[in-house]
């Protein structure tokens, strides 16, 4: 078991958490990784707290569910409050948006504040694109999957009507990630 990376995307049902997890996992498969993905199911996925978890590995994984997150994307305060303490201490990373989430004081895990809501509303004219903006920022700052693979995944799983919006959102997210990274 070498090189395992565990990502948890979380927020409200309806924010596109499950789709973002699907795209991230699909991109990992295109990159040749062993992926195990699971997400909220039933009523949770459609309104209240919702999560999607993706485990990346270079070899087949034994236990396929997330044990401790290496990366947390928190798209709502509620999700942040539940999951912020379950992120790996030394190397972990939390992506959030100050406009939506107030981080907890005293946590040592690295936090990256991304103005995702502002970018979605101002630049993309759609709040719905926030999930993909997060993905773009995540990919730019961690290189967890390649750009080619995530674009391919979007083309595969997103309907034609929303495809160009999602590709734009990906680019906007990557710009954000680059800025944060300097």
């Amino acid at each position: 078991m070498i090189g395992i990376m565990q990502v948890r995307l979380s927020g409200f049902g309806g924010q596109g958490v499950v789709l973002a997890g699907l795209l991230l996992g699909q991109a990992g498969v295109f990159d040749g990784k062993y992926i195990s993905g699971s997400n909220s199911y039933g009523a949770q996925a459609r309104g209240s707290g919702c999560k999607s978890e993706v485990v990346f590995s270079d070899s087949p994984v034994d236990f396929p569910h997330l044990t401790t997150a290496d990366i947390l994307i928190a798209m709502s305060q509620g999700a942040y409050d539940i999951y912020c303490t379950d992120v790996r201490e030394e190397s972990g990373l939390i992506l959030y948006d100050q406009a939506v989430v107030t981080p907890r004081e005293g946590l040592t895990v690295k936090h990256i504040d991304l103005p995702v809501t502002e970018v979605s509303v101002r630049r993309l004219k759609s709040k719905q694109a926030a999930n993909i903006v997060y993905l773009g920022a995540l990919i730019e700052s961690t290189r967890i999957v390649t750009t080619g693979s995530i674009r391919k995944a979007i083309t595969m799983h997103v309907g034609e009507r929303f495809r160009s919006l999602n590709l734009k959102a990906l680019r906007a997210g990557m710009d954000l990630g680059r800025k944060v990274h300097g």
């Binding site: 078991m1 699907l22 996992g25 699909q26 990992g28 498969v29 040749g32 990784k33 062993y34 992926i35 195990s36 993905g37 699971s38 997400n39 199911y41 039933g42 009523a43 034994d62 236990f63 396929p64 569910h65 044990t67």
Partner: protein, 379 residues
């Protein structure tokens, strides 16, 4: 026996499928061209995918009014010559038991995928459970055999559904894929091979469809419309399908044969997988999703130098008695974690002289690594 190598209908490669989607692809690859079902959480994605895929490959898909009708339509389709299946979860599986008994007695090939959820009854529709294991074996009345397989990954939802069809055709028996919610909804990398081995039912013009004289094996199976004289009945019947409900010899012969045709071949049906069993003192015996947790814990304890091993049951029925007995001879203690109140632990106890500890969990959650670790440490 008629097995052949066929080109996979799905292009060779790596895919990101949920277990339910992968099972549908495995069915299509095996040659399934008929699906009838009634949607039920957590199996519905399988049905949804079959609706799309069967249309593309020229098969037939019907949503029935309930699960009783669903299994009956599957059996009708099978006698019309199609490889046929349905999928369901616990409540639907209960309704299907009468049809499953009919399939076993009339030796009708069919595949049933049960994506188990937390029961009994309606229970927790969206939550995981594994409480249908004994029902798969004993759910219908009378003495009969079925084959039941237990997938632990998306890959095995593909592989074992494909195998379920092959076994079903080979032995003319209902085959159940006993999945669970966690495996059905788990999305994983799966690999599709370019060529697959496919079994088709045996045909022989004029031969008796319900007996082979002097042999405890599987008779050839004609379909309606092929010009054979064919009568299919759930009453006791002779080799040609004529009702013989007063004949003690025919009844004994038929019941004996439908059991022996499976039990005599159990060594080629049963599949198990051993992990670190060579020098193990304690063995975990697990199946389905729980075996993933089991392996995770065993891997971890092995790194700490503990003599723990795992036997995974890929086949649940016929029960892997020989593999379990062999494990029981090697180790001092056996622990069986499962998402029911010890259904397989009870079976294990029948075949081993050592202590068997049942780790049961029926709260609608998967058994996590800590729980198994904690129990093993106490042992």
């Amino acid at each position: 026996m008629p097995s052949r190598w066929a080109k996979s209908p799905f292009p060779k490669g790596r895919y990101y499928f949920s277990g339910n989607e992968a099972a549908a692809e495995g069915a299509i690859a095996a040659g399934c061209r008929f699906y009838s079902g009634y949607p039920i959480t957590p199996s519905s994605e399988l049905m949804e995918r079959m609706a799309v895929r069967l249309r593309k490959v020229g098969g037939i898909f019907i949503q029935m009014e309930d699960e009783i009708a669903s299994i009956c339509a599957v059996l009708g389709a099978s006698w019309a010559g199609a490889k046929a299946m349905t999928a369901t979860s616990g409540p639907g599986f209960s309704l299907m038991q009468e049809g499953i008994g009919y399939a076993a007695f009339t030796e009708t090939p069919c595949v049933i995928v049960d994506v188990q959820r937390a029961g009994p009854c309606t229970g927790q529709a969206t939550k995981v459970g594994s409480g249908d294991i004994l029902q798969a074996r004993y759910g219908s009345h009378g003495d009969y055999q079925v084959i039941a397989l237990s997938p632990w990954s998306s890959q095995e939802m593909y592989d074992l559904t494909l195998r379920a069809f092959n076994l079903s055709e080979q032995y003319r028996v209902p085959v159940m894929v006993m999945a669970d919610e966690a495996v059905g909804h788990l999305r994983e990398t799966i690999e599709v091979a370019p060529r697959i081995e496919v079994w088709d039912r045996k045909k022989e013009k004029g031969a008796a469809p319900f007996d082979i004289e002097g042999q405890d094996s599987v008779p050839p199976m004609p379909s309606f419309g092929e010009g054979e004289r064919l009568s299919v009945t759930g009453s006791t019947h002779d080799g040609y399908g004529f009702r013989k409900t007063d004949d003690p010899e025919i009844q004994a012969r038929l019941v004996g044969r439908i059991n022996r045709k499976i039990l005599d071949h159990k060594r080629s049906i049963i599949e198990t997988e051993s992990h670190f069993m060579e020098e193990a003192e304690i063995a975990v015996i697990a199946y389905g999703f729980t075996a993933r947790t089991g392996l995770f814990v065993v891997n971890r304890l092995r790194k700490e130098g503990k003599n723990v091993g795992m036997l995974r049951l890929k086949t649940l029925w016929p029960f892997p008695d020989e593999a379990v007995a062999e494990a029981g001879r090697k180790v001092k203690k056996i622990m069986v974690p499962e998402m029911n109140l010890g259904q397989v632990a009870g079976e294990v106890k029948k075949y081993v002289p050592c202590d068997v500890i049942s780790l049961s969990q029926t709260n609608g959650e998967v058994i996590g690594p800590e729980k198994i670790l904690e129990t093993l440490k106490k042992i």
